[in-house]
């Protein structure tokens, strides 16, 4: 069905265009991320060894919170202006169109976090090999955060000010990603093998890519009844 690919591309093109016209929505999570990570030294003291030891955890928790912050913008405007109804009523499988939306959302809110991570790693005194593993774990882990977050966001889209509810819904599902993600970087710091952690993150990401769009589109159909 070639038209499905066209439709998928159309959704991606439209959402990228919208993101470019609303740069504050891209900037918000990444600025939040930088702030969270850079205030830690003030709170825990500037002892370099201590900062380096907790650095990967700080980066991961910061990325997780920044992703949560960005979730509301995923479906909000489409729900408010009726575009979501139109997507639901299109003849194409909603889950494929939604996957396109989530991909763009990760691209504009998740990827910038990874791009600034090297700078923050230097700030926290992480060595190069740890930084490489940290970035790898974020590359494998943050798409899962966006995909799983999309389910929570879709379930609560018809409720105003549902930020807390979304957090309660998806945070338990974020914990495994956080454990394996921060765990990989910590293992690299201690000179232990990291492949196991990264494989787990990759496996979780594959599962999420396959299943989350289906769950999200079902939730969106219920929410827009």
């Amino acid at each position: 069905m070639p038209s499905l690919i066209h439709a998928f591309q159309a959704v991606i093109k439209r959402d990228i265009r919208l993101a470019i016209r609303q740069p504050s929505e891209i900037a918000q999570p990444v600025v939040f991320f930088i702030i969270v990570v850079s205030v830690f030294p003030f709170g825990v003291g500037s002892n370099p060894d201590q900062l380096t030891a907790i650095g990967p955890g700080i980066v991961w928790v910061g990325a997780l919170l920044a992703t949560l912050l960005a979730l509301d913008s995923l479906f909000r405007s489409d729900f408010d202006d009726g575009s979501l109804e139109q997507l639901i009523l299109s003849e194409h499988p909603l889950s494929v169109l939604i996957l396109g939306k989530i991909l763009v959302h990760w691209f504009v809110t998740g990827l910038p976090l990874i791009i600034v991570t090297p700078l923050l790693g230097i700030l926290l005194g992480l060595d190069k090999s740890t930084l490489v593993v940290l970035i790898g774990s974020l590359l494998l882990g943050t798409p899962t955060l966006s995909l799983v977050g999309a389910i929570g966001s879709a379930l609560t889209i018809s409720i105003r000010r549902a930020g807390l509810l979304v957090t309660l819904l998806v945070l338990p599902l974020y914990i495994p990603v956080l454990i394996f993600g921060a765990g990989a970087a910590s293992a690299a710091q201690s000179g232990l093998p990291t492949a196991g952690h990264l494989y787990m993150l990759g496996a979780i990401a594959m599962g999420a890519i396959a299943l989350a769009p289906i769950a999200t589109s079902a939730a969106l159909r219920i929410s827009s009844e």
């Binding site: 038209s3 066209h6 439709a7 591309q9 159309a10 959704v11 093109k13 439209r14 265009r17 919208l18 016209r21 609303q22 405007s77 408010d80 202006d81 009726g82 575009s83 109804e85 139109q86 997507l87 639901i88 009523l89 299109s90 003849e91 194409h92 499988p93 827009s224 009844e225």
Partner: protein, 208 residues
């Protein structure tokens, strides 16, 4: 033929309508009327397959629309209260998106915008257009798709008299092609070539 068979709609504890029957043949237009809150929008959402009825079924050519939802959706164009226009995009960009989503462009987006009278606003972000102009841009979507079933919820809101006339002409042309239309409107709809059937929702008695 689009058929509503014994539809019942319940919102909260309140029955909006029950055992509603309606059938619409190609070339026919039905205007749904009724006081505010009688369930006109709910009926249209049920007919479009957006929300399931409490009881009853919507049939397309005798088959429940849930059986082949993709097939029915490919025949359907729906304009809701929220008109589905992205305010940060221009009318042209909005239409181009819809035409690539439908995989069809019966009329090129630029021509569709000329037909609804938005030639000069084609490249201005919808955010800067008036309510009536936005609605014209949303109605231009119906020039590009080739859907058979049009479900229009208050399409004439905020339109001036020339806008209303142009929508009526668009509907007339659609009926000529053998399309069918379900519409709600508080304004009277006057078509040149087709009679407008009226369907009044008999609301169930409101519990005091």
């Amino acid at each position: 033929m689009l058929q509503a068979a014994s539809l019942t709609c319940v919102k909260g504890d309140h029955v909006l309508f029950d055992h509603l029957d309606l059938s619409i043949h190609p070339g026919q237009i039905y205007q749904i009327s009724g006081a505010n809150g009688t369930g006109k929008t709910s009926l249209l959402k049920i007919l479009a397959g957006l929300s399931p009825p409490e009881e009853g079924a919507v049939l397309w050519n005798g088959e429940p629309i849930q059986r082949h939802p993709d097939k029915f959706r490919s025949l359907l164009a729906y304009l809701g209260h929220s008109i589905g226009l992205k305010l940060d995009l221009t009318p042209t960009e909005n239409l181009e998106f819809w035409s690539s989503l439908y995989g069809i462009s019966r009329t090129p987006p630029a021509d569709a915008l000329i037909q609804v009278g938005l030639k000069d606003q084609a490249h201005i972000a919808c955010r800067y257009l008036s309510a009536g102009q936005r609605r014209r841009a949303a109605i231009a979507r119906f020039q590009i798709n080739d859907a058979l079933v049009w479900i229009l919820d208050e399409p004439l809101t905020a339109l001036d008299s020339s806008g209303i006339k142009s929508v009526c002409q668009t509907i007339d042309a659609h009926l000529d092609r053998g399309g069918l239309v379900v519409i709600t409107s508080h304004q009277p709809i006057a078509l040149d070539r087709h009679p407008v059937e009226e369907f009044r929702i008999q609301g169930t008695a409101c519990p005091a």
